[in-house]
């Protein structure tokens, strides 16, 4: 018996075919693991502070750097191009204000000396990216100096940086929130004035109103001047203390402390110090605004934009999708019509997203938006309000795109509720709607939720239609904020997926942007994978539940 089993298992005819078919699975799995691995590695290594080396070389071997003969930088790659040529190092040299480049290439052979000096300092600045150099001293407004050799130098620098950052927050609050609110108010006044002036005859009441508008405007303008002076004096304070540092190539530079974002000694800190910087970087990436044409700083507006858009889409798509599914499942009589509709809906889920994008632009933006503008926002024309891409149209279009997904998932969930449950509910005297409301919908809720999550995952990862529908590189304001009416449906927004495309392909210095793209990619993938995993888990639980609940 045992021998026969063995035989049938291992030496049957066509074992080679089995092996070959396992190749398909192996390759598929390897590919996905490799891709995710590459993204995870590259995405996370962006945040990890690496050691900085100082290299000395013959000035002729690195013409990018002029006549300099030494430079400090982070080794980003070491590769052998072909067998004859020596190993090539790519160094991130930073100091873009001085060198004009972010990366420099060296042949290993041309490097005379490679060291890792302990006292090298990495400064993350608000402009020109990172600076790498040796600190010299801090100079105060009245000329007092704290030398880098001073034992409390690092602490002093740290407290100054913190102080400046707090002040920076205050300035931003003044400039964006308060001055922004004034601008908003002035624009409203202008529109009111325009509306009055467009009337052919002005009544005395209108004239009064106009005068009032003038007064208001004067008030706002004086408020604006006071706020602006306040902001200016705060800004002056930001530059009162200066840090002088010396580059490895010899230049000495004075940097106002207010321009320092963060600093650390990469060759002094140990593993835990690195981990702390790593966490700090991640925190900044997730929670702060982008700087330097998106190549530095964080992606908070993009996360927020993606979130608001997806959520909004979800709010629109779920009721409609479920409504259609209830109709198809509970009300429609099975026939040719329903069968055709079902096939069509299934197919629509497979129609390319760009087709929906084109539809959204033509229908929502130009037709509906243009009409809305003419009816309600004619004063602002020719500047379009709704007649241009915005978060409302993007969400609506994506909702339309994902509605087939939700219908299919919801219908599946509804049909899998056992007919016994329905019949018993009816037998107990419940009406049809009561049955649906109290019995069928709760029982199918996880299935509907799965559909919703799948739709969200698709919506969050989709870029092509959004590119036609108001996604932008940098949005000046978030779609949801503390200004009336809080949710600004006409605003353009940022999106993680588009951020990747824009940074990777439209950025002036794409090499410098690459780390940021990897980080954003990792974030987007994590987001989408988590959503999908949630959907899968819910579905699996659901299946188990139905297996038990079947009559």
């Amino acid at each position: 018996m045992k021998a026969i089993r063995k035989n049938s298992q291992v030496s049957g005819k066509g074992e080679i075919g089995v092996w070959f078919s396992s190749l398909g699975l192996s390759l598929g799995l390897l590919m996905i693991v490799a891709l995710l691995g590459v993204i995870a590695y590259n995405g996370l290594s962006v945040f990890w502070p690496k050691r900085v080396v100082q290299v000395e070389f013959d000035p002729q071997s690195a013409p990018d750097l002029g006549s300099r003969s030494a430079v400090a930088g982070i080794i980003t790659s070491q590769k052998v191009k072909s067998q004859e040529s020596p190993e090539e190092w790519r160094l991130f040299v930073g100091n873009k204000d001085q060198y004009g480049i972010s990366y420099s290439y060296f042949d290993r052979d041309s490097l005379l000396k490679v060291t890792q000096p302990e006292d090298l300092l990495v400064l993350e600045r608000t402009a020109y990216g990172k600076a790498i150099g040796y600190p010299e001293h801090i100079s105060g407004p009245s000329g007092e100096l704290v030398s880098a050799e001073h034992p409390e130098f690092a602490e002093r620098l740290g407290s100054l940086v913190r102080e400046c950052q707090d002040r920076g927050k205050e300035i931003r609050k003044l400039e964006t929130r308060e001055i922004g609110a004034i601008h908003e108010a002035l624009e409203n006044l202008r529109l009111q004035q325009l509306r009055l002036e467009r009337q052919s005859e002005l009544s005395s009441k209108d004239r009064e109103a106009l005068e009032k508008i003038e007064k208001e405007r004067a008030r706002y303008e004086s408020l604006f001047t006071t706020l602006a002076t306040q902001a200016r004096s705060l800004r002056d304070l930001q530059t009162s203390h200066k840090l002088q540092y010396r580059l490895a190539s010899g230049e000495e530079i004075d940097l106002p402390i207010g321009e320092i974002h963060r600093f650390f000694y990469p060759n002094q800190i140990g593993f835990w110090g690195r981990a702390a910087v790593f966490c700090n970087h991640i925190k900044e990436f997730l929670l702060s605004e982008p700087r330097e044409a998106n190549t530095e700083g964080g992606v908070f507006p993009a996360i927020f934009g993606t979130f608001v858009m997806t959520l909004f889409m979800c709010v629109i798509v779920t009721p409609f999708g479920v409504l259609a599914a209830i109709y198809l499942c509970e009300y429609a009589k099975d026939g040719v019509f329903v069968r055709v509709v079902r096939i069509a809906i299934n197919n629509l889920a497979g129609v390319p997203s760009i087709v929906f994008g084109v539809f959204g632009l033509g229908f929502f933006v130009y037709l509906v938006g243009g009409t809305l503008d003419e009816l309600f926002f004619s004063l602002r024309l020719p500047t379009p309000t709704f007649g241009t891409g915005g978060i409302l149209w993007a969400s609506l279009t994506l909702a339309l795109m994902t509605v087939p997904v939700v219908i299919v998932a919801a219908e599946e969930a509804l049909t899998s509720v056992s007919p016994g449950l329905r019949e018993s509910s009816m037998a107990c005297g419940a009406s049809k709607w009561q049955t649906i409301q109290r019995i069928v919908l709760p029982a199918s809720a996880p299935g509907v939720l799965t559909g919703m999550i799948l739709a969200m995952a698709r919506g969050a990862g989709e870029v092509a239609p959004l590119m036609l529908l108001g996604v932008v590189k940098i949005a000046p304001s978030l779609p949801l904020d503390n200004q009336f009416p809080f949710l600004h449906l006409d605003r353009k927004f940022m999106h993680l997926g588009f951020h990747i495309y824009d940074l990777g392909f439209q950025s002036p210095d794409s090499e410098a942007a690459l780390p940021m793209v990897f980080a954003t990619t990792l974030l987007l993938i994590v987001l989408v994978v988590v959503l999908n995993l949630a959907a899968i888990l819910i579905r699996n639980r659901l299946r188990r539940k139905y297996q038990i609940a079947g009559f």
Binding site: S21, A332, I536
Partner: protein, 767 residues
């Protein structure tokens, strides 16, 4: 009794639905039906909307009568009619050089502008060029002058427009140099050339063809330079036929001289010389070779000829490879007019032209070789015109009445022929499929062939499927038939997650990570493709050599675990060995230095003649594989594992091995499902946008070379839509592209769905 009735009452109450609930129930029932139908209608509405956006592309021109005005009683003296840009002030140009305007909008009535040319010359010929609005006159004393018949709008304080005539006249220039009488003269001026050609009659009755170029002093401030006579040419000798007509190109770059026997002489005005460049017969292949008329189209490179029987052909300049110069060649052939057309009137905005003959008028568009509109009028047309904005048509009839029509033809460049057929655009040697929607110059023709884009989409799909289909199908077969059930629960979700990877991520990885990585390592990749199957074979053979004891220690269905590390190692080894293979196989000898370079990027173009670019179809195919593999995998796996157990068990019980069962029983049963999976994969690849946008060069190519890029339909929309003006031709054409994608995917998806339903029924029958 009372008790009984009470209990009866109670029962009724118990069963009676509360009014509120009843109402609500009825309301919800209606609400759901109406709402559900509306959602479905809205979703279907997408198709309708897109279709409505596309439909105007295929409409012809609409022509509506606006007004009729009596302009003159003496039509015999009329040279031409013309109209201002706004269609408000038509002008009648008369033989004596006088202009008569008629105000259609205001109350100025008829405005006589008197004679344009005076200054003591007697006019002996007059000719009007409507393309550049030049009126050219020759005199008895052998001199010629020209006048620009322009318009000047004036706006008052309320922005109301009044159009005024604005005529500027040149000096008289001596054409013949010998005081001969001019019988005919034409003149054209461009940025570099100013050329007048005419026929002069000397005192002995001999005709001479004379030409003269004008030169303008360069001036620092705009155009103000003084114009003086330049070189003189005598073309009489070069033309050995009786002359019928002379046409100077509007830019003065060449002149066409039509002989009475149907021959056309082309003289090119280049480098200060006027030389006979070409002789041809436009209707040489017909019994009646004579040319009825010839004139230029907008853009100076094409000329429209009409034959004696009403035939209509367009000849364009294009580079003749053999002779190495630009020559006229036939590019378009239109349907003939009912009889010899008497009048030809070109449009100044696009390549349209109007032919009139007797009562018949026909508006034609050269680029697409289409007749936009034609009609037989009750009146006899003697002159016609196309409005400057391509929005008016005007006709002057025999009685001197001017008929003004409104022309609505927003998309003359469109049409099935332009989208799907080979079109010969100006400057091309032969007809071709070209997509080039925008260009640098004003007289640029948008080239709107969808064929290169469709080819691009198919190319991407082909390479993606070549890569993805085997992996996905093998994987699905293994997972459903041989894989250990414990693993199956993990494999499927993993594949589903792979399906959810956003395409922008894949596109980014393809363009900025994979493309630079593969750029120098194509030989490595080829080795990997070769090495992996070999390693699998070797692995299987080695496994077979192991003793039974070892083999049974690992349960069946875990082969892939054993194989994965081996494949990984093979991949790494092959990758490292790539440069070695390159040095052996892909060596190019530099013809200049004789140096031998081992570089696949040079070897491929030399060996195949095709190009090599970094962002190529190989990269796209590979990355699109990530998007397509999970789609095919999960559908194929579903249909394979849903094959009824009884079939498998029966086969195994009869002694077939697991592979025999899989291939001979399971695969054929599930084949509709597999085809359906492949179809869905194709439809996904066709519609894929971001990967294609990012990982190809987006050049509309028409080849299937694996190492070159492409431009797919979907990518084209993303790239061009932001620049397309609302409801313009490009806008609608992009909608057409979207509609094409929609229809293609919809058909494929429907086929797949029908196949799957078929499969479901088949399984039901087996059960």
């Amino acid at each position: 009794m009372k008790n009984q009735s009470q209990s009866h009452h109670r029962t009724l109450e118990r069963f009676q639905v509360s009014r509120r609930i009843g109402w609500f129930d009825r309301f919800m029932n209606h609400f759901i039906v109406v709402g559900g139908l509306m959602v479905i209608a809205a979703v279907m509405g997408i198709f309708v909307f897109i279709f409505l956006q596309v439909a105007p592309l295929f409409h012809g021109a609409e022509v509506k009568l606006l007004s009729r005005h009596k302009l003159t009683d003496t039509v015999d003296s009329v040279v031409a009619v013309d109209l201002d840009e706004w269609g408000e002030l038509p002008v009648l140009i008369q033989k004596d050089g006088s202009l008569r305007y008629r105000d259609l909008k205001g109350d100025r009535g008829i405005i006589e502008n008197g004679q344009v040319f005076q200054a003591g010359e007697t006019l002996s010929s007059i000719h009007y060029n409507s393309l550049n609005r030049l009126l050219v006159a020759g005199s008895n004393s052998g001199r010629f002058a020209y006048a620009k018949v322009g318009y000047r709008p004036e706006y008052d304080s309320l922005s109301v427009r009044t159009v005024h005539p604005d005529v500027t006249r040149s000096d008289w220039f001596d054409l013949s140099g010998k005081g001969e009488r001019i019988l005919f003269v034409d003149y054209g001026e461009g940025d570099s050339n100013k050329l007048a050609v005419g026929i002069c009659l000397d005192s002995e009755g001999n005709r001479h063809v004379r030409a003269v170029s004008l030169e303008q002093d360069l001036s620092l401030f705009g155009e103000g330079g003084k114009i003086s006579l330049g070189a003189r040419f005598d073309l009489t000798e070069a033309i050995d036929q009786a002359i019928q007509q002379i046409d100077v190109a509007p830019d003065g770059g060449l002149v066409l001289i039509v002989a009475e026997n149907g021959e056309v002489f082309v003289f090119f005005n280049q480098g200060g010389k006027l030389e006979l460049g070409q002789r041809f017969e436009p209707f040489g292949d017909l019994p009646d070779r004579r040319v009825g008329g010839a004139d230029f189209l907008l853009g100076d490179t094409s000329a429209v000829f009409t034959g004696w029987e009403g035939e209509n052909r367009v000849y364009s300049l294009s580079l003749d490879r053999d002779k190495g110069k630009r020559l006229y060649a036939r590019t378009k052939e239109f349907e003939p007019m009912p009889e010899l057309p008497e009048g030809y009137f070109p449009g100044v905005r696009n390549n349209s032209f109007l032919l009139v003959g007797n009562h018949h008028a026909s508006l034609r568009f050269s680029t697409t070789e289409s007749i936009r509109w034609q009609r037989n009028f009750e009146f006899e047309i003697i002159r016609g015109l196309i409005g400057e904005k391509y929005d008016r048509l005007g006709f002057l009839d025999r009685t001197g009445t001017f008929h003004l029509f409104h022309l609505r033809d927003p998309h003359p460049q469109a049409g099935l022929r332009a989208f799907l057929g080979k079109v010969r655009y100006e400057g091309q040697a032969e007809p071709d499929y070209v997509w080039q929607s925008t260009g640098g110059t004003d007289d640029f023709e948008p080239k709107l062939s969808l064929v290169p884009l469709i080819i691009g989409s198919l190319k991407g799909t082909l390479y993606a499927m070549l890569f993805a289909a085997p992996i996905a199908l093998l994987g699905a077969l293994y997972t459903s038939q041989f894989l250990h059930p414990k693993w199956r629960d993990h494999v499927k979700p993993t594949m589903e997650i792979m399906a959810s990877l956003p395409s922008v991520v894949l596109g980014f990885m393809a363009a900025l990570w994979l493309a630079p990585l593969l750029d120098t390592r194509v030989p490595s990749l080829l080795l990997v493709l070769l090495g992996v199957p070999c390693a699998t074979l070797a692995c299987n053979w080695c496994w077979g050599q192991l003793p039974h004891r070892v083999r049974t220690s690992i349960p069946a269905g875990l082969e892939f675990l054993l194989l994965s590390p081996i494949i990984l190692i093979t991949c790494i080894l092959c990758w490292k060995a790539g440069p070695l293979a390159e040095e052996i196989l892909f060596v190019v000898t530099n013809p200049e230095t004789g140096e031998r370079v081992a570089d696949f990027r040079l070897w491929w173009p030399e060996f195949t003649g095709a190009t090599y670019t970094q962002r190529n179809s190989l990269v796209v195919g590979f990355m699109m594989g990530f998007a397509v593999i999970p789609v095919i995998f999960s559908i194929a796996e579903d249909s394979l594992s849903n094959v009824p157990k009884s079939l498998r068990s029966g086969s195994l019980a009869l002694g077939a091995s697991r592979w025999q069962t899989a291939v001979n029983i399971v695969l054929p049963t599930a084949s509709p499902g597999i085809i359906s999976a492949l179809l869905i994969g194709i439809s996904r690849a066709l519609g894929e946008t971001m990967i294609v946008v990012m990982a190809t060069g987006n050049t509309p190519l028409k080849d299937f070379n694996i190492f070159s890029g492409m431009r797919a339909l979907s990518a084209n929309i993303v790239v061009e839509f932001p620049q397309a003006p609302f409801q313009g031709t490009l806008y609608r054409t992009l909608f057409l592209g979207a509609l094409t994608l929609f229809i293609m995917t919809f058909i494929i998806n429907t086929m797949a769905e029908v196949l799957r339903q078929h499969l479901r029924n088949r399984y039901k029958a087996v059960r």
